[in-house]
């Protein structure tokens, strides 16, 4: 086991902490752009993890995936979102239904919850508990963001976080799926973000606001 491998392993083991940090920060963030930045950071951590994992298993595929994630999740999507925020010229706060402090506490609670949630599965799923917990935590916070943040864009961010979680779970349990699949998944994500951006503009044009909790014409 060479130096790089051990480094990678240590990196992996500790990376969970970084993720939890990003989660808490996103929960605390007041401005959309901050969240986007944090998301980008989060993706970066995950990229690092992929790199590390693939270094450990000497899989070229892994590096390819890492490169792809880097380009798409760390660079492309956050950039696109920034552009949208710029374009929208709308108020940029996340307009949360919970105060930042509450959000942080809830996020922390979710992280703890995720630890308890994964414990019974560690045996079954294998993989590193911290990483699994991080994955679940990401999924949960993603959901939490989508439920609590009223801005359309924040729902996109929440979705992205949730997606990161699932991606991480895949990584933690199976060291990545076949390349083609991964590519397809990421491509879908890209298209999805593009479409959502489109709809965000449409919402702005038709309703003159971006508050999804006010879209309640269709009910019953």
């Amino acid at each position: 086991m060479g130096l790089f491998e051990s480094a990678a392993a240590r990196a992996l083991a500790s990376s969970g902490v970084f993720l939890f940090m990003t989660v808490l920060l996103i929960a605390a963030a007041r401005r959309i752009s901050t969240c986007i930045g944090l998301y980008s950071l989060q993706s970066l951590v995950i990229t690092a993890q992929i790199a590390a994992v693939s270094r450990m298993h000497h899989s070229a595929q892994g590096f390819a995936i890492a490169a792809m994630v880097l380009t798409v999740k760390v660079a492309a999507i956050p950039y696109a979102l920034y552009r949208i925020v710029e374009e929208l010229k709308a108020p940029r706060d996340v307009s949360s239904s919970t105060s930042p402090s509450q959000s942080v506490f809830i996020a922390a609670g979710l992280i703890l919850l995720s630890f308890f949630a994964v414990r019974p599965y560690v045996g079954v799923l294998g993989g590193d508990q911290a990483m699994l917990a991080a994955a679940v935590a990401l999924v949960l916070t993603g959901g939490f963001l989508m439920v609590s943040r009223k801005k359309a864009l924040m729902q996109v961010v929440g979705l992205l976080v949730l997606d990161n979680g699932i991606f991480l779970a895949a990584l933690a349990t199976t060291f990545g799926m076949p390349l083609v699949i991964e590519i397809g998944i990421v491509f879908d994500l890209l298209m999805g973000v593009f479409l959502m951006g489109l709809f965000v503009f449409r919402i702005r044009d038709t309703f003159d606001h971006l508050d999804v909790s006010k879209l309640r014409r269709l009910r019953g």
Partner: protein, 490 residues
């Protein structure tokens, strides 16, 4: 290589349509592409039945189940194309909402769905199911009205979230397969998994986990309660042909994915878990949807809830399992597709003539629009499972399955729910068809295309209601053989 055809044609069609500007050309191109696609599907289905399982490369695969769903897809899609050729005369020109955008997106939508049916790899299937959402989101928001945008947004977000869970489920299954000793390369390959399924008992917990996530994920797309919330909005706000596509094809598409997973799970760890889950989802959807149908005010929302109800019935059929249950479920997806298409087309006419879908504003169609009114009544009878229409047979089949497996609670629930639905539809439709027309609406003559489409629908429904053709029965048996290699066919 045949399998590439039905994938390639829609893509090409979409591309061409996007490029050309003249609307008349667009319609012609669309119809041509549709005809070609139909031919391609025909060829595919035919060769499936001559050669059994078709494969192309590692990622394309077609078997009996595929052919069954391809047939219903082809039929409905052809109907939709013909109908829209007469329906879409006035399109709000705007960003992403012009005739060519319509047809272009429709063909992309078609492509993604065909791809779902043809993909051999569960991961790839997931990718394309997600893609169907993306392709149809713009179509849902096509009219660009407040409602349309809202519906589109909800559709996009809710379905994406749901599908994300399906991805997790897929991963879990993959993991189970890998742990079960399947080579990571082919661990998402349905054929391989089906073959290896009995050996996966080790990953018992994992498979359960996988199926829960998949059920919630694809269930969102199928429209199971409580993940159904997007469905009424999308169906109500989309243009009628698109509503028909969503309800009659897309839901089946998601159901198809669910069927594939269910087959593997039940083969690996027995039918107990997955079927119970399906029964729960089906029962809840059936009960809730049937009740909600009583209090609807918008015609297309009503129809959307009826779709939920029927997907619930299908889920129950699958959940009951056995030869009868599955047979009934498959037959029911087919019948429901046709009947629902018929109804959405009728609803399209109503909207065109009355300019609204609020049912309390629609009165006296029997006098003002006899044909549409008649169609509405026929459709209602068909969708509530009255003879001589096909749904009577399939619902009776599923009931038979319920009784013969002593699932009396499910049976009673189904009978009760169907009665409630009957009452609801009767209540709404009677008041629309009967009574004095408040304002005699403008009556542009019905297009010949409309009569053709409606005629075909009624014909199919009645034929399936009184006598199931041997060829079609063979297709059904083929589909069942794929899902239940063990069970003997009815």
């Amino acid at each position: 290589m045949i399998l590439l055809l039905p994938l390639f044609i829609p893509l090409a069609g979409a591309l061409f349509v996007f490029l050309c500007r003249n609307p008349r050309v667009v319609v012609r191109a669309a119809l041509t592409t549709g005809a070609l696609e139909l031919a391609a599907i025909g060829v595919t289905v035919n060769s499936i039945h001559s050669q059994g399982v078709l494969t192309a490369g590692r990622y394309l695969r077609a078997d009996g189940l595929t052919s069954f769903f391809l047939i219903s897809l082809g039929l409905i899609f052809a109907l939709v194309l013909v109908y829209s050729s007469g329906y879409l005369r006035h399109v709000p020109e705007g960003r992403f909402s012009s005739l060519r955008w319509f047809y272009g997106l429709v063909f992309l939508f078609l492509f993604t769905m065909v791809a779902v049916y043809l993909s051999a790899n569960l991961g790839m299937m997931w990718i394309f199911v997600e893609a169907t959402t993306l392709a149809s989101a713009l179509l849902v928001g096509f009219y660009n009205t407040e409602g349309a945008v809202e519906a589109g947004w909800k559709y996009l977000i809710v379905c994406t979230v749901g599908i994300a869970f399906a991805l997790f489920g897929t991963i879990a299954l993959y993991l189970a397969a890998v742990k079960g000793g399947v080579s990571p390369e082919s661990a998402l390959d349905w054929g391989t998994l089906m073959a290896a399924a009995p050996g996966l008992v080790g990953g018992h917990e994992l498979l359960k986990l996988a199926f829960v996530f998949v059920a919630v994920g694809y269930g969102t797309k199928v429209g199971f309660v409580p993940m159904h919330s997007w469905l009424p909005d999308a169906h109500a706000e989309a243009p009628s042909p698109i509503s028909a596509l969503l309800s009659a094809v897309l839901l089946n598409c998601a159901m198809y994915a669910l069927l594939r997973f269910d087959a593997i799970t039940s083969r690996a760890i027995g039918t107990g878990f997955s079927h119970t889950l399906l029964l729960i989802f089906g029962g809840v959807s059936l009960a809730v949807a049937s009740l909600l149908m009583i209090v609807q005010r918008d015609l297309k929302r009503l129809l959307a809830y009826s779709s939920i109800e029927h997907m619930g019935i299908v889920a129950i059929g699958v959940g009951l399992g056995g030869a009868l249950g599955l047979y009934g479920a498959l037959l029911h997806t087919f019948n429901h597709s046709i009947a629902k298409t018929f109804l959405f087309f009728t609803a399209g006419n109503v909207r065109e003539k009355f300019g609204t879908l609020r049912m309390e504003r629609i009165r006296g169609m029997a006098r003002s629009l006899p044909w549409t009114g008649g169609a509405l009544i026929l459709g209602a009878l068909a969708i509530t499972g009255m003879p001589p229409f096909g749904l009577f047979v399939s619902e009776l089949l599923i009931l038979t399955a319920a009784f013969s497996t002593a699932h009396y609670f499910i049976a009673v629930l189904m009978l009760a729910a169907i009665s409630v639905v009957f009452g609801a539809l009767l209540h709404h439709f009677q008041s629309m068809v009967m009574g004095k027309p408040e304002d005699v609406p403008v009556r542009p003559a019905l297009q010949a295309s409309w009569f053709v489409v409606m005629g075909v629908c009624v014909l199919c429904l009645v034929v399936l209601g009184v006598h199931i053709p041997a060829a079609f029965a063979a297709v059904l048996r083929g589909a069942m053989a794929v899902l239940q290699p063990a069970v003997l066919q009815p």
